[in-house]
Symmetry: D2
Subunit: 434 residues, 4 copies
């Protein structure tokens, strides 16, 4: 990881902030320690020899952009998740009402909408337009996956005289945003690029919790209740749930913590065998003999090694994401075959909530979180900062350079969250034969 | 259909009802007209030459069974649906508190639990045991599918001195219950068999509405919201939902009426072509070109003819139900292939709520409905009536002979409900090329 | 009650219905029996000597109004309830898409909006305008209470060339609509007045169930759960809920049936004493000594005689409704005083959900119900029928003359619903000392 | 505030932790910095001259109590809030399954249940008993307010040989727990006292967020939706909500942030005038003239100075809490009188959700939070630590001495949360005339 947390500015801030009536400002020199334990707070130093630290987000007393002349645009990329519209609303409202920026564009269909070759028109965002959008899920601007030509997008924005671009998206989007910021700098464009990171999988490094995650867990937990009811509804009933989580098991793990009826959680971070004495099927059999029912939650990215055994090539989609093989259906048939082979009746019900957990509106806590992110993003943008994203870390909102964030945060199999999952489910820590 | 609506009694009712403090009783001679329109009420006559009519349910002033000596059992069969526990609670509470019957057995795992060969123990049901069961979905007694030996079950109940059996189940369960009643009569057993019909598909003849259906629609409607959000979230987005409904499209149709965002509803009752000028794919293409997004809801039993084209033999499961081919995945790949073939980008999201719509607790109106059904079932049983089920017809609770009810009620393609679906979705009435 | 169920028409229907592509029509001569029991179906006769019957609602093959020239208006009056926007949407969509009527006005603030003296502008209703309104509670048109000058309203509509007025409202609104229809007839205006009856209290005569009632019960039931939790949360805890229900206890009774934790339901229809051996306080004391907690639900119109003891004059509001005295606070202080007087500690928590139960969006079943009502209202209007309301009776939609419906349906203390409440709560049938 | 964050131990930990199979342990020397900003992390020092820091919670490799001989008790005190049962379940499960402690008592009715003079029996808590308790709100153990005799409680526990007492409660409970720990130490009792802080008002010092707060906000936000619907439902409609928040406005502020339709938030921390040019009534009038509707949310502790104007003495209840005067009804009549005085029609609807926001089960995020708190409390107790509470600070779970926590955290009128409320509502920062 690159630990250079310094933030770039387009230039000196000379304009008095219109927020002066409140009299609440944050100074650039207010910084959050990166390491906050007694034994390690000074273990990493920045180039000034100070303990490593991060810039605190918040409104500044001086701003860079003149509100009357500023044009801002908002783009939403990648998969949907609860709260995107809350962020869009918050950015629009804060720009409009607090800073007096009246020219706000909504970019349609992700980065496609910034590439004139795709032919999508921009929306004009106003307080009236965004007022009620938080009551619906998804993105009012629509989204898309995959990259677009960086220069085409920069030229388009330059023509439109857009000064600020807010990018709401995941790992790939933040990378593209970093590129936009870098090349804009090379081209000496007066363009601030601000990221608001989004991932339903909650797997972004450094960031305390992705927005929308709480809401998704609430929905995912409903499917556990459902699977439990089905499992207990029949003789030797098994409820099997496949849930989102491509590279990490955050959703599966937290859903299991939220709803106590899960007996097995299978995630990408913790490999397991199906066969053998310690393998999953044997352990499931023991559970069935002892209790007569079981609920299994499997993240979509779990057990990919089991499916790929020495064959299938790894495919990728247009965004460069690996095409996963279907662990859910694999588990379903493996379990059914196994119990058929030992002549033991079971009744397995398969549940795949898929998009149902992510396409709902944000719940209250996510809604609050999203409106904060939007406000801090605007504060950062108006001061001419660029190439950063706003993030919650240790309950403080900070500015992180775009390059520092990548999807890669996983559940630590020796950490506290997984320990609690093991406690809650009662499943063995090890389901590998060796 | 057999129009003999006469109800059998085990014998004369000589015991004063313990409900006399309320002073509210219904008489056997109170009967609901079967035909209630001015032009047809006397179009069908019973054997007495009277307009065809049905016995009204309710407490009678005299009862047959002596509460102190009565033993009752409750069995739940077939698929789960919201409200089963409400019925179980209501039967138990009414027997115990209103009639003073203290011996109430809960039969585990459907008819299996009445066949001693299966080795399941009976539960003893008390007010304390059932008090809070309505807050959870499914069946507290568990269920099973498929038949058991009729004589084995009758012998088992005779040994236990069970006088009343309440059967909560679907079409097949009501048929088995009818057999139990017939053979019990032949064997001169003093056993009252009372059915409470259940089907998530709402497809039972004569019955106004299945319990649990309202709740299932509420959940099914949520998946439409979700599909709509996904469809609008991407360029040329399509949300495709596969929903329960094996032989009838009640769930799909009513969910579409409850949530306005559906554009196509495909049900078993209304055949359609995929290919051709009038076929579904062409019409979907037009919709996509005009509006840029679409939501499609397909009942699992729809379009089976398309999948079976001159080949696959029809398989059946242990309950005798036809194994359906997967119309959802067929639609998914057909749509994707079609748009690929015309080189038009779409983004299709597939949602299959499956058990999520049926394993929730009953909502308020279903809860009220279920507690009524339970109470009327007990009133009928205590008077020694047998071979009947309690049903809501035209807002009145009636006694129907078990043999009169079968699953077969479908959506009439020329009727009012389907008309309203067409109005709501805007889809063409005819998607067949000929 | 006036049993003349004949429906007035503005004139002969000569225009082919635009719905002919569906081929589903209802004929005027299709009539529902008013009495549907074997022993009374011919107990009441109409002027032709036929059993009393009602016209069935539905689309007719010939219509009266020429769609291109027709102007319709929709007005919403009285208290809010779930589903009003569903009715408004359904009327608008059916007029626009099915019949081709493009001029549809939304009247703001109830009948005020039809009185030009109030100065409110009309809204122009379009499919786009109404598309998403079902996701919010209340009335998109806003409402008001109280009457307006009938002639002023008729003149205003005549000037605007409005041919159809849809009135969504309660008892008083239906009376005003009847007046509008009568005077319009005297003035020979070509104006169809169609009512869609609405009352959160579910107390309209003849009508099977008010729209929005299911949803309100669902919310009211939540408050019982809450009161139960509070009652069990403390030593000798009592949860006291005051709930809507001015003249009838439908909400209180059905909420208690939906959520089993209520121990006492007090409604306007069943008088009770507070003091004395059989009085409520003594019975509550017994319950508290036996079980240590209690949940009491009191309808706002209950026990008004207790509060008025030989004094307070009965006041009325601008709509002519009686101003109720606050039975909730009276109960609260009476209970607290009583237990203080016998030196017994209790912990009483008072809950008044008030508008929380009526300002939510319609649930699925109400939403379906409301869209039906809207469609049938439009079918009736387009055929030039007037002075009627559309209503669900015995699961059939019928046309009822406006004058036949009044709020007056109460819970029968000797009927089936109250019996079931007594069974559910276990409260004594009689809490009067004499 | 006392900044001595050192934690007391009953003695040396000599027993191997039974959690060794997981291999995940936290060491006492792992400490979280109290100040985590670059400019202040060393501004406060502990007695060793180190930057002020706090002990991190978590399982230790060695424990103090021998599981087989340990008896634990759990008590829940003060007002109910969502998640109490989740904490009780988690403590019980972790003690039983992870540490093997089988003797776990549930204390009924708060500290009353530890005073034998009150005569309440203890419950025996088992995994089966607590398995499903998280699906219901409140406290399965019941609660009570007010103090009990410290020595009587200690003697009672000594007689029962209780080694660990878990106290779930608020400010007052933590103070009583501190007393129990102090006197137990003086008496040389081997008794570990562990607090789990609880307050629906979210006003405890140092603690990041109270458990149950998220859930309460979710419910409180529903009442804003409701008030908004009512306000827009009538001519010049006003929705007025009184919400919990005795000494702080956290609930009101966060609910307003979660649901955007609030126009005024009034909290104890920000005084306001009713009368005068800058007073609330004048500002409300302007809003009504401009927009025609308004939603006002007032915390129960707001504006107490307005109600007490130079008269009413301050009363206190048995727990020593100030009896608040009713700001809700005061606002209601003040607003109605004001608009009557200027002859302007308004329609005010008053909503008081009261206990409805706190008696629901925990939502997913609170449920996860509560189960963590319970687990950390058990880890702390088993190592013989005492006189501490477990708390979330800066996303880390820490041990805080009981004496350091008091209710006193308020909304800073010049801080970030209030700024965001002002942004969201658009209300003036100052509604005082001077």
């Amino acid at each position: 990881m690159n630990y250079d947390f310094s933030i770039k500015n387009l230039g000196e801030c000379k304009i008095e902030s219109p927020l002066s009536d409140i009299g609440y400002f944050t100074e650039d020199k207010k910084r959050l320690l990166f390491n906050i334990y007694l034994d390690d707070y000074s273990s990493q130093k920045d180039k000034n020899g100070q303990p490593l630290s991060l810039e605190i987000a918040g409104p500044r007393s001086k701003i860079f952009f003149s509100p009357a002349k500023t044009k801002a645009a908002i783009v939403t990329c990648g998969g949907l998740c609860p709260g995107i519209n809350d962020v869009v609303r918050s950015i629009t409202m804060t720009l409009f009402h607090r800073y007096g920026v009246k020219n706000i564009y909504g970019v349609r269909y992700g980065f496609r909408g910034l590439n004139p070759a795709c032919g999508h028109e921009l929306l004009h965002l106003t307080p009236d337009f965004v007022d009620d959008i938080t009551s619906i899920g998804g993105s009012i601007l629509s989204s898309s996956r995959g990259p677009q030509d960086i220069n085409a997008m920069l030229d388009y924005m330059a023509n439109l005289k857009v000064n600020i671009l807010f990018c709401i998206g995941g790992d790939g989007t933040m990378k593209a945003a970093a590129q936009l910021a870098n090349i804009a700098e090379q081209k000496k464009l007066e363009l601030s690029i601000i990221g608001i990171p989004k991932t339903i999988d909650n797997d972004l490094d450094l960031i305390q919790k992705s927005f929308g995650f709480d809401t998704a867990i609430e929905k995912a937990a409903e499917s556990i209740k459902s699977a439990h009811v089905e499992a207990k509804g029949y003789f030797n009933g098994i409820g099997l749930i496949k849930i989102m989580g491509r590279l990490s098991g955050h959703i599966a793990a937290y859903a299991a913590l939220a709803q106590n009826d899960t007996n097995f959680v299978l995630i990408p971070e913790v490999p397991f065998d199906m066969e053998g004495e310690k393998g999953f099927l044997k352990i499931l059999e023991k559970r069935m003999r002892a209790r007569g029912h079981a609920v299994i939650m499997v993240a979509e990215g779990a057990g990919q090694d089991l499916l790929r055994k020495g064959n299938a090539p790894v495919e990728k989609d247009s965004s460069g994401n690996i095409r996963l093989l279907d662990i859910g259906l694999y588990m379903k048939s493996s379990i059914e075959n196994y119990f058929r082979s030992i002549d033991m009746e079971i009744n397995l019900k398969y549940i795949e909530p898929s998009y149902l957990i992510r396409s709902v509106p944000a719940n209250a806590s996510d809604s609050i979180y999203c409106s904060s992110l939007g406000q801090y993003a605007v504060h950062a943008a108006m001061t001419g900062k660029t190439g950063l994203l706003v993030a919650l870390m240790k309950e403080d909102y900070v500015h992180l350079p775009l390059h520092t964030v990548a999807s890669g945060r996983t559940i630590n199999p020796h950490g506290n969250v997984w320990l609690r999952v093991l406690e809650t489910t009662g499943q063995p820590a090890n389901m590998k034969n060796v």
